[in-house]
């Protein structure tokens, strides 16, 4: 039988974990999205060295487990004078890790815009930054919503590893509940349900945004 009493008792702890997960993921997504866009622009930069650096960043991030990056930041950070609490490390780690994936999504978005449109823009005198802002990004947004939502969902699920560096997020708190009650079914059932709700909410928002940015 499922002990609903226990779930009720630990409800506040789980909800606090959920709030932390939402906060961490929201901030990390913001970083991932913004820095991912910058990276995507750098991947198409005119200077070879800039392109190469951006490409190196993306490849290294994609080729490294998120846990290793978090360990490096959290345990290795202090030897480089970077002393941060667990949660900021989690936000930065997830954010800069996610940026590599978002960069690839954006790059694909940029490349899907026919070069003819950009040539037409150049011929009417639009400068590069206008072309990016007025021609490329608006069209790209429509294309990148589904893969971005997907990436956002992956980010939420990966945020569970932050429990290992002691961030009091959803997974960490459910483990605490399991340790204190010696129950396994209730904590993990509750946590699965909460993750599922969170991810459903993201998918739903994604579909809503998609309807809004699509036209014609």
């Amino acid at each position: 039988m499922i002990d609903t009493d226990m779930i009720a008792r630990y409800g506040p702890l789980l909800l606090a974990g959920l709030v932390t997960t939402v906060r961490v993921c929201a901030l990390a997504s913001l970083i991932a999205f913004a820095f991912g866009l910058v990276l995507a622009l750098l991947l198409g930069a005119r200077l070879m060295i800039v392109r190469a650096m951006a490409r190196l960043y993306v490849e290294v991030m994609r080729g490294t487990p998120i846990l290793v990056i978090l360990f490096l930041l959290y345990y290795g950070g202090p030897s480089f004078g970077l002393v941060l609490d667990a949660e900021p490390v989690g936000v930065l780690g997830l954010g800069f890790y996610g940026a590599a994936y978002f960069a690839e999504i954006f790059r694909a978005g940029f490349e899907s815009i026919p070069t003819g449109q950009i040539e037409a823009a150049r011929m009417v005198g639009l400068r590069r930054r206008h072309i990016v802002r007025r021609i490329q990004i608006p069209q790209m947004l429509g294309l990148i919503v589904p893969p971005s939502v997907n990436q956002g969902i992956i980010l939420v699920k990966e945020s569970a590893v932050l429990s290992i560096i002691t961030v009091a997020e959803l997974t960490k708190n459910s483990m605490q509940m399991a340790n204190e009650t010696f129950a396994v079914v209730e904590p993990f059932l509750a946590v699965a349900l909460l993750y599922w709700l969170l991810i459903e909410a993201i998918s739903w928002s994604g579909r809503w945004i998609e309807r809004r940015v699509r036209h014609v």
Binding site: P114, G116, Q117, E119, A120, A121, R122, M123, V124, G125, L126, R127, R128, H130, R134, I135, P138, Q139, G142, H215, V216
Partner: protein, 274 residues
Amino acid sequence: MYETRSGANAGPKLADATALPIEVRGLAKRFGDVEVLRGIDLQVQPSEVVCVIGPSGSGKSTLLRCIAFLEIYDEGEVRIEGRLLGYREGDGPRRLSGEREINEVRACLGMVFQHFNLWPHMTALGNVTEALRVVKRMSRAQADEAGLDALRKVGLQGQARQYPGQLSGGQKQRVAIARALALQPRVMLFDEPTSALDPELVGEVLSVMRQLAADGMTMVVVTHEMGFAAHVANRVVFMDEGRIVEQGAPADVLTAPRSVRLKQFLNTWRERSI
């Protein structure tokens, strides 16, 4: 003839009123090992309509794209109203111009592409007014007025609020022409403007172009429309394998070809259009 300017003493910022709209000299362009343009000389007079014809792969588009500096040419020069396009004026090893200088020199050029290249997320009016607002810094009201004027010239003021996806091919191409005209160019470049259109839509685009020519616009038109070349062009230029093989008045070039290649080209064209 018009005097061509020697670059050194003329102020580089001033458009020279006596300079030719377009002057191409010794133009060469390679893609890797392939020599696509092998020394092109071409002078276009004010209000002249030049049609460029030639077999597929002969370098017509590349020539036009070099004149617009959408391709970086390797040798020779392209001068627009006397000003060197794409490279800094001066002796010694050539250096590419910056974006701002390039835009300044080609500000008098308008270009129309085979595949329209409209921006699908903007209305017809949005496509036409974008550069007016961003480049010419007009207010929305001013830009809309100028944009509607341009759309009226191509007979599409009624379609101003429609998106490209809602327009026919002929309408799209006319919007693209309006987009270029809104900036009041003095020279228009057309790269096969009707080749992507259904046959019944070709006429509406050609008639807009014919009107432009009649209004005195300087035009370079790459085309397979021999009728247009015969009736509207002041000069027909025949290209083959990256060279201008023959050029002259349409009546001479199209009816009394001298070179074997042009004869073959015209025969093929006649056979196809029977």
